[in-house]
Subunit: 141 residues, 2 copies
């Protein structure tokens, strides 16, 4: 390609980011909310509904999933994306009330190739409520 | 294929199981052990060494990994394997003392196509110390 044909784009625009999935546990009854009505909508369902109203990058998909086995720290989400990213599980979300902070943290995650957002840039909720993380499928040596 | 060419094999023998990785966090200092000597071998390293002495199915790989961000319930492991299996994170292992129970649970996990071992067949430690699980990449609808 000659110099004249080189696209005039910033490096960010040419970076190919793997698709990301934000998985919201729609099963559990939150430990941070009193659930006196067993028929009431579950916190994860409320969180998921609030998240679906947000603007997301094209490569992010939002899905409700069944139990993430993190019931003592629900409601919970898992976020993953491609063979080079770490998978993170975060907990203790207060239903729809935490949609903004989760959106912020998930968009930052989705902007990285490896899923590792610098510590100081993570929302405080993410720093304090990381339940676990799992290494990328393409494990660094 | 004619009837005569049909291999005379039990269904189990023809079941192709995806490779499994057992990832042992070698970073954290266990919360279940007093670590008075900062230079002492870490529980995850001791657990990993003990596991490496065990007999494993050919499709199971054991690896030490860095922090699984489950430090309050260390030492920890993650187990995963292929696009159809759930990934599980287990914690609160007492170093090499729990190598047998982890081996038992991991071998059972590796024998399943989806990673879901029936509840009653899981080691008690697995039942009581599941930190989180993440759905398969091939999410059921």
């Amino acid at each position: 390609m000659s110099k004249d044909e080189t696209p005039d784009q910033a490096p960010e625009a040419t970076l190919e980011l793997a698709p990301v999935e934000l998985l919201v546990c729609a099963t559990c009854r939150s430990s941070v909310q009193e659930q006196t009505d067993p028929e009431a909508a579950r916190p994860g369902a409320l969180l998921s509904a609030a998240l679906s109203e947000k603007a997301w990058p094209d490569h992010v998909t939002l899905r409700e999933v069944e139990c993430l086995s993190n019931c003592t720290s629900g409601c919970s989400v898992a976020i993953r994306g491609g063979a080079d990213r770490w998978t993170y599980v975060y907990g203790n979300f207060d239903g729809a009330n935490d949609a903004d902070v989760l959106h912020e943290g998930a968009v930052k995650y989705a902007s990285t190739p490896d899923g590792v957002v610098p510590w100081r840039e993570r929302p405080v909720h993410f720093r304090k409520n990381c339940i676990a993380r799992v290494p990328p499928l393409n494990l660094p040596d």
